[in-house]
Amino acid sequence: MNAASPSFLYSLYGRAVDCDIELPFVPRASTPAAPDIELRLRTESVRDAPRDLTRWFESEATEDGSSLAIDRTGEGDLVMSFTDGTSFRVSSEGCSVALLTAPAQYTPGDLAAYALGPVLALALHQRGATLLHASAVVIGGHAVLFAGASGSGKSTVAAILHQQGYAVLSDDLTEVSGDPPAALPSVPAIRLWPDVVNALYGPGAAFPDRAPSWDKKMVAIAGTRMDSHAHPIAAVLFLERRGEGPRLERLGAKDSWMRLIAHSYTARLPDRSMAASILNMTTALANRVPASAFSAPSILNCAGLGAFLERELAGHLR
């Protein structure tokens, strides 16, 4: 690293992440540590597009038409590209992430929203971590996972429970490790659509830390655990039939596993080296952790959600 480069240390996904810009909505790490991952988001670090790219993975387009592609460079690094022209290079060992291209108007907050979500998650995958598309909330000292596709309400449920006094470990991608499985904290922020922000915090709520160019706002969540402490997972709740609940329907192990594979962040990557880890993670969860289909309540009817979950999951929170 250039000695003149600024350096800001964060604790993200249980790793020490050294970033060359100050991230607008993430508290700095309280104790110094040797960085596990270097995150380079300064425009000065933008390099020419890497050569010898071969297409490795291409996602299906989401409802809003966005998608992502991953190419592999000749050196084995990965380049993750989004439809808006933003792209990042992730080193083959997952120890560095660098911005390659971005629209000129993007703010540090915009770039961080990408980098701290799918891009850092890809770096973690390269480091051997397994992640689920799930938010994670601490209830009774245990992690409860809310798994679902984009738009299923993972972040909204996390924000509702955070407002009711529960610590949030993750709003979108949760690293799961060990057997019995445990959840690690990811990023101390929740990404919310403006209507959800208004409904939960009121139209007058000010969020100076949000990423201004994005429709989806990042809300810093004070009080979220910032250490690398893993919480044993007490339940996995799959978000289905939004707005009709709260209601839980218990799932068998096989039904749970099929959903877990569908929501595994990198299960669709053609990466044989990680297939066994993903299979181990999903089968450990399916076999050891109770799972239910969860109908979340609407925001207007969410006042008792935390109490409902504590009551329904009481047997698993001991």
């Binding site: 096989k254 053609p270 297939a275 299979l279 181990n280 089968t283 399916a286």
Partner: protein
């Protein structure tokens, strides 16, 4: 298919129990397959080193089912697993 044939899982196949069922992952193709509890038991016996005939005898002692139906079911499953290259057979 010889009754004394023994089968082994393919080199690129990962197998895990989920409840009383089995999941097979074909690493080459990136495809998952599921076996119900009966299929999982057949897999358990075959992968434990029993021949096809020995597997059928063992299962006849565990279930009230005609030999004819059981033989057909076991052989159909093995044939399907072989077609998908999830197992390979060898003489004892």
């Amino acid at each position: 298919m010889q009754g004394n044939l023994r089968v082994v899982a393919g080199e690129d196949v990962l197998v895990r129990n989920i409840g009383d069922e089995l999941v097979l992952l074909d690493l080459q193709r990136g495809v998952y397959y599921g076996l119900d509890p009966i299929g999982a038991r057949i897999w358990e016996l075959l992968s434990g080193g029993l021949s096809i005939d020995e597997t059928i005898e063992r299962l006849l002692g565990e279930h009230e089912v005609s030999r004819q139906k059981l033989e057909r079911d076991v052989r159909e499953l093995i044939e399907e697993l072989r077609e998908r290259e999830l197992i390979s057979g060898h003489e004892p």
